[in-house]
């Protein structure tokens, strides 16, 4: 199959996703005229089914930040925020979003993003979210609903945590949504939406698990960030999302049946030389170059943790329409960065084993303490649990000043050479052992 064929093949789900996004921004642009309240909220632990039950238009500042970075616009926004007094040291997502706001809040597609009627602050898995919304509230002076999702510090979601989140939904979040929309929550509608989420979640989990095959038909990190787009944001619970994930699954099934590897921006990956598990968010400012470092070497991400920040579907979580509010609470509590480091290390080690990875790479980003603080310790822990040495690279999410391509390329190439040498060593040791067994009487 030529590269061009592959590109055409890729387009069914990619085009569908493009259409979803365009539709989303168009609807957002019409929200004011159509009298739909606008709600700003965050990706990890978002309550999109609840928002859809109220027919509000959600906006995700992080998504705007990453889209700006992919369009090379984040640098200007970050500098704008720093000129206004924000420190170089702090999270660049926040600065990118605030800079965009200072420049007129024109979104990644060139359309103005409408101001919020409600800031729905649920800070699952990251403390900075809270201050981010305090800064946004200063600008917008609109209603704020706060959902405190306790950190699962000891690794167990307790009944007390679940009840606490459910009570806040009942006493704080739902009443605020009722107030800004002027309508009551329709619990049956919420159940329908959650049932729909579940169907899409099944398909997405299947897609990620397909990487257990050799060769893997997907790249679960670089390709994976596209796959999670709809379900981590506005589309979970929608028929559109169900269709998208059914299409995606169909494509992956075909690739799997044909024994094909993932499709990269340069065409299908021919030879799967290395299977890797990747921890940490990607760099968005040089996303394609970053990916190329890996696919040029035949390295495929067979699993990643970043694709679990907005739901641990691959590890079994599903929304449950029979327990709507409890299920939303469990969802928020179980997102990847809301889990303690020992559990995160165990998840990585399990993935290395389950996906038969040759190695694992931690991409540490300067911006994000939620991910990065403790990753060097995780590196050693996962090495201890798997017996496999890990790779460690550093850059940033949306601040291009911290992305050093040559450095990352060198490190990854050296790491992969080390894995190859290890594999060759293991193969020759196995051959020697087999030879020794043969000569034994």
């Amino acid at each position: 199959m030529s590269k061009q064929d592959a590109a055409i093949k890729k387009e069914a789900s990619m085009e569908a996703q493009k259409g979803l996004l365009a539709g989303y921004f168009a609807r957002l642009g019409r929200a004011r005229d159509e009298g739909r309240p606008v709600v700003y909220t965050f990706v990890p632990g978002n309550l999109v089914e609840l928002l859809s039950a109220f027919d509000v238009a959600p906006v995700y500042p992080e998504v705007n930040a990453l889209q700006s970075a992919m369009r090379q616009r984040s640098g200007g926004f970050i500098r704008e925020a720093e000129r206004a007094g924000h420190s170089e040291d702090v999270c660049s997502y926040v600065k990118c979003d605030l800079g965009m706001l200072m420049k007129g809040n024109v979104g990644p597609t060139g359309d103005a993003i409408p101001p919020p009627d409600l800031l729905l602050l649920s800070f699952t898995g990251c403390f900075t979210f809270m201050q981010w919304f305090e800064l946004l509230r200063e600008q917008y002076r609109c209603e704020v609903a706060m959902l405190h999702v306790p950190y699962v510090g000891d690794g167990v979601v307790t009944d007390a945590m679940r009840s606490y989140v459910v009570e806040q939904l009942q006493r704080e979040v739902i009443p605020k949504l009722e107030q800004v929309t002027g309508r009551r929550l329709d619990l049956d509608r919420l159940r329908e939406l959650l049932a729909c989420s579940r169907r899409a979640e099944d398909d997405l989990a299947w897609v990620f698990r397909s990487a257990r095959h050799r060769p893997s038909p997907i790249d679960a990190y670089f390709g994976g960030v596209y796959y999670i787009g709809p379900i981590f944001t506005s589309f979970r619970g929608s028929e559109d999302a169900c269709r998208y994930y059914a299409t995606l699954r169909g494509e992956v099934e075909e690739r799997l049946a044909a024994g094909q590897g993932p499709i990269t921006p340069d065409g299908p990956l021919g030879d799967e030389r290395f299977r890797l598990v990747i921890e940490g968010p990607p760099n968005w400012t040089s996303f394609r170059d970053f990916w190329k470092v890996f696919h040029d070497e035949g390295a495929v991400a067979v699993a990643s943790t970043y694709t679990q920040v907005g739901g641990t579907y691959e590890r079994g979580f599903r929304h449950d329409p029979a327990r709507p509010l409890e299920s939303l609470a469990d969802y928020c509590l179980s997102c990847y960065t809301n889990l303690p480091l020992p559990q995160r290390s165990q998840i990585l080690a399990d993935m290395v084993r389950e996906y038969e990875a040759d190695g694992f790479v931690i991409h540490s980003v300067k911006s994000c303490n939620s991910f990065s603080a403790g990753q060097l310790h995780m590196l050693r822990e996962v090495e201890r649990l798997t017996g496999i040495p890990g790779g460690f690279i550093e850059s940033d999410l949306v601040d291009a000043r911290y992305y050093g391509h040559a450095n990352i390329k060198n490190r990854i190439e050296s790491y992969l050479q080390m894995l190859a040498a290890r594999r060759a060593g293991a193969a020759s040791a196995a051959a020697a052992a087999a030879a020794a067994a043969e000569v034994r009487p």
Binding site: G85, S87, D89, F127, E138, M146, M161, L341, N369
Partner: protein, 390 residues
């Protein structure tokens, strides 16, 4: 009568006792005594004290220890506190502690709890996520539940009965120490020339690991002795030091700022051992744990690590500046401290509206260079004195 020199020299020895010999001695003086480490800033001291456990604040090692192994745990863009805290643990300096409490102060401390669990499995590590919510009823119930579970666990280890009476007595003990802390703060505001910042700081750090009543007596003895110095006020401006609530600046930095022409008359250096709002009021139901949970939720002391529900942080800072008669604000934040640094622009905008001068610098707990800070603080003091603005 104890002399000021004797008090200060005892405080210095205690401060330099990074291996917590004094905590060990306290434990050995009674049977079943526990000591529990608390990371900044939320520490349920009353609950610990009622369970027979000495609360011991662990605020990093400052510049008292060279961090070597702790550095291997963190990238260059993470603040210093978790490194030196790990160094203390790896050197065995925290062995006197029977457990550690990690509050959800920020993502760094949050993740440190996980590093701790695997690095020191012999320590009991407990994570507490104090509610950050606008919905008080469910928050109070949740916090009460968490504190009760902690109380029962600790009582099971110390052999102390988890009774309401003991908890009420502990609340009273801690409140008495808060009263002494209030007197100390008032004395410093009134006579900063007699109560220099680095001494007062040593005294407040002593509260990190002393039984409340013993510390209250020490604080009163210090205030009395310091006042007897009878020094004369110098021509310095009065400032509020904001942002250093977790990783602590070196003492020499505080001294440098003060000697450059600033009396630091208010700060948030030792958050957690000082009063953060009205004391818990045990209601007719006689439920002191519920009272403690409510007191936390009603805390009025502004903090970068608490949700600013009513968007009052800037105005609270202005009120604080006025209350201590400060001429300006020194923002001092640890490098890479998201909570402190993200708060600053919001606060400075309100200071600008009220024409309150400020300057800002960053530090690390093991900074050894103070020249730049001395110059910055000196220039700030001069411009405030000359023009009333920075």
């Amino acid at each position: 009568m104890t002399t000021i020199d004797a008090i200060v020299s005892d405080l210095e020895a205690r401060f330099d006792d990074v291996a917590l010999g004094h905590v060990r001695a306290w434990k050995q003086a009674g049977s079943g005594r526990l000591a529990i480490g608390c990371l900044p800033v939320f520490a349920p001291r009353e609950v610990l004290w009622a369970a027979g456990a000495l609360p011991v604040f662990v605020r990093g090692a400052g510049d008292r220890l060279e961090t070597i192994r702790g550095d291997a745990f963190y990238q260059s863009y993470i603040c210093h506190l978790p490194r030196s805290t790990l160094e203390l643990g790896l050197l065995g300096h925290l062995d006197a502690l029977d457990g550690m409490i990690f509050p959800n102060t920020c993502d760094v401390i949050r993740n440190l709890s996980g590093v701790w669990q695997t690095t020191f499995p012999q320590h009991v590590a407990r994570f507490i996520d104090p509610p950050q919510t606008a919905e008080p009823a469910s928050a109070a119930a949740y916090l009460r539940h968490e504190l009760t579970a902690l109380h029962h666990d600790l009582c099971a280890r110390s052999g102390v009965a988890p009774t309401a009476e003991r908890l009420i007595a502990a609340i009273a003990d801690v409140d008495a120490a808060h009263a002494a802390a209030d007197e100390l703060a008032a004395a410093r505001r009134a006579e900063p020339w007699n109560l220099p910042v680095d001494e007062v700081y040593l005294l407040r750090r002593a509260a990190d690991s002393m039984p409340p009543a013993a510390w209250a007596a020490l604080a009163r003895a210090y205030v009395a002795a310091a006042r007897r110095r009878g020094r004369k006020p110098e021509d310095r401006i009065r400032v509020c030091l904001v942002g250093a609530f977790c990783e602590q600046p070196p003492r020499a930095l505080l001294r440098a700022a003060e000697r450059a022409g600033c009396y630091i008359v208010d700060d948030d250096l030792t958050q957690g051992v000082e009063r953060c709002g009205p004391p818990p009021e045990v209601g007719d139901d006689g439920d002191p744990m519920a009272a403690l949970a409510l007191a936390w939720l009603r805390a009025t002391r502004p903090s970068a690590v608490r949700y600013d529900q009513h968007a009052r942080a800037g105005h609270e800072l202005v009120a604080r500046v006025r209350a201590c008669g400060a001429d300006g604000v020194l923002f001092a934040a640890p490098s890479f401290c998201d909570p402190a640094l993200l708060d600053q622009p919001r606060l400075t905008r309100v200071l600008d509206q009220h024409a309150i001068p400020y300057t800002a610098f960053k530090y690390a707990e093991n900074t050894g260079q103070f020249q730049a800070i001395r110059e910055q603080a000196g220039t700030f003091a001069d411009s405030v004195k000359l023009w009333g603005t920075a």
